[in-house]
Amino acid sequence: MKLPIYLDYNATTPTDPRVVETMMPYFTQTYGNAASRNHQFGWEAEKAVEKARDLLGETIGGSGREIVLTSGATESNNLAILGAADFYKDKGRHIITSPIEHKAVIDPCQALEQRGYEVTFLDVDADGCISLEQLEKSIRPDTVLVSLMAGNNEIGTLSPLEEIGKITRKNGVLFHTDATQAVGKIPVDVERMNIDLLSCTAHKMYGPKGMGALYVRRKKPRVRLSPIMFGGGHERGMRSGTLNVPGIVGFAKALELCRDEMESEAERQTALRERLHKRLRAALDHIKLNGHPTQRLPNNLNVSFGYVEGESLIMGTSDIAVSSGSACTSASLEPSYVLRALGIGDDLAHSSIRFGVGRFTTEEEIDYTADKMIFAVKRLREMSPLYEMAQEGIDLSTVEWTPH
C-alpha cells in the first residue's frame, strides 16, 4: 500500500491511464483545429470531436447534437443559468434552486438577483432532501428555470430527478441539473427524467481537468440560451472558443469506461464506503452520518465526529487525503454552508469529514484509514474540553460560551 492515501474522489479523480492513452495522439498527431473546414487536419479533429460528442450525448440519454462542450461544470452551470435566464427574460424572471447547490449554481443565481431576477431557495430537510410539494407550490407563472443538483458534492444526497422532471415538465418550466457528481457514477437519463439542461465535467470521472459539457435539449422543448462568451460562434453559437480536442476525446473515453464499469463499480465503492462507516461506528461514539443514509452517491461518506474539530483531525491523519466541512483555514471561519442548511449545528459542522472513495481505492486503504481515524479521534477527544464536559453529563447547549 502506498502512502498518502487519496480519499477525496468527490473533489477530483486521477486521469485513468486508459484515458491518457486515448488522448495522446490528439496532442501531437491529430492536432488540427476542429473548426478548420478546409484541410485534413481539421477534418480529422472534427471527426474525433463528433464521435466523442455522440458518446457523451447518448450515454446520458440524449444525442451528440445536444452537447455543448465547455471548460468544466462551473462554466456549464453558468451558461445554463445565466443563458436561460437571459434568453427567457421576457417570459419571466423567477428561478428556483436549493441552498445546498454548488457555488457554481448559487453564485450565478445570486448574480441574477442583483439584476432584478427573483430566486426561490427551497428548504432542505436534515438529510439534504427537498420537498417535491414545496417545489411544485413554488412554481409561478413567471418561473423559467428550476436548477437542482443530481448528487450533492459534500454530503452525497441524491435528488429525485425523475420526480422533479415530471413536475417541471407538467408546469412548462425548464429543468437544469448539475450532475457533476452523478454522471458516470449512477444512471442518468435526460429523456426518462425530463431534464432540459445538464452540467457535467470530465475530471470527476477519471477524465482530464478543464473539460466539461452542458446538455441542451433540442426538442420537446427546444431549449435556447444566450451565450455568455462571444467569439467564433462555436457550439451552435452557445459557446465560442476553439475546441479542446484531446480533452474532448479523453472526456468521452472516461465516460465510456465509467458507463461500462458502472454497475460493478457502484457496488464495490458502496461496499468500501459502508465498510469504513461501520468500522468507525463500531469503535467510536458520538458520530453522525451527514446526508441521506441510502439515497446517496455510491462513493461518498460524510461523517461528523462529535467534540473533535475537523481540521485538527485532518492534521492528525496527514497521510490520508480527505476534506473537512470546517473552514478554520478560510478567513471567514464559517463552516460548510451545506451542513448549515441541513440544520446541523455549527459545532458538528466543524467536526465533519468527507471521505470520497473511487476506482483505485482498496479495502486495505479503507482499513488503514479507519484505524488512523479512530486513533486520531480518540487522541483528540482526550484533549477536548467538550468531550470531557459531555462525559460529565453537561448539556453543552446550556453553557454560556464566548463566541469570538
Binding site: 455549527d346 470531557e388 453543552l396
Partner: protein, 133 residues
C-alpha cells in the same frame, strides 16, 4: 495549508493536557471560545502564593489552537499572576509563526489565561469572604 514546525510539535506532543479539580480553591479555570466557532479552550492554573505552579489545558480546535494553548500552559508555569497577565497574543503568534487566519487562536489563548486568573481571584475573594460571613 502548511503548519510551522512548532505548531506541528505542539500538536503531536501537546504539553500539559489534562484537568484539575475545578472546585479546588488553588485552581483557576478559564473556558473561552464557542463550539460553533470551531474552537474552545479550557486552561487551568494551580496557584501558590500568587505564583502559578502548574497548568493544564484541553482544547477543541484546529492544530494552531491546540498549539497556542499548549504553549500558553508552558509559559504561565512559574510566573506570578501579574506576569502571566502580561502575556500578549502577539508573542504567541511570533513563537508559533501563526499565519494571519490563525491569529484568533492566539487571542483565544491569551483570553484563556486571563479568564483562568480572573476565576482564581474570584475564588480567593469568596474564600476570604465566606469565613467572615
Amino acid at each position: 495549508m502548511a503548519y510551522s514546525e512548532k505548531v506541528i510539535d505542539h500538536y503531536n506532543d501537546p504539553r500539559n493536557v489534562g484537568s484539575f479539580t475545578k472546585n479546588d480553591d488553588q485552581v483557576g479555570t478559564g473556558l473561552v471560545g464557542a463550539p460553533e466557532c470551531g474552537d474552545v479552550m479550557k486552561l487551568q492554573i494551580k496557584v501558590e502564593d500568587e505564583k502559578i505552579v502548574d497548568a493544564k489545558f484541553k482544547t477543541f480546535g484546529c492544530g494552531s489552537a491546540i498549539a497556542s494553548s499548549s504553549l500558553a500552559t508552558e509559559w504561565v508555569k512559574g510566573k506570578t499572576l501579574d506576569e502571566a497577565l502580561a502575556i500578549q497574543n502577539t508573542e504567541i503568534v511570533k513563537e508559533l509563526s501563526l499565519p494571519p487566519v490563525k491569529i484568533h487562536c492566539s487571542v483565544l489563548a491569551e483570553d484563556a489565561i486571563k479568564a483562568a486568573i480572573k476565576d482564581y481571584r474570584k475564588r480567593q475573594d469568596i474564600a476570604i469572604e465566606s469565613p467572615a460571613a
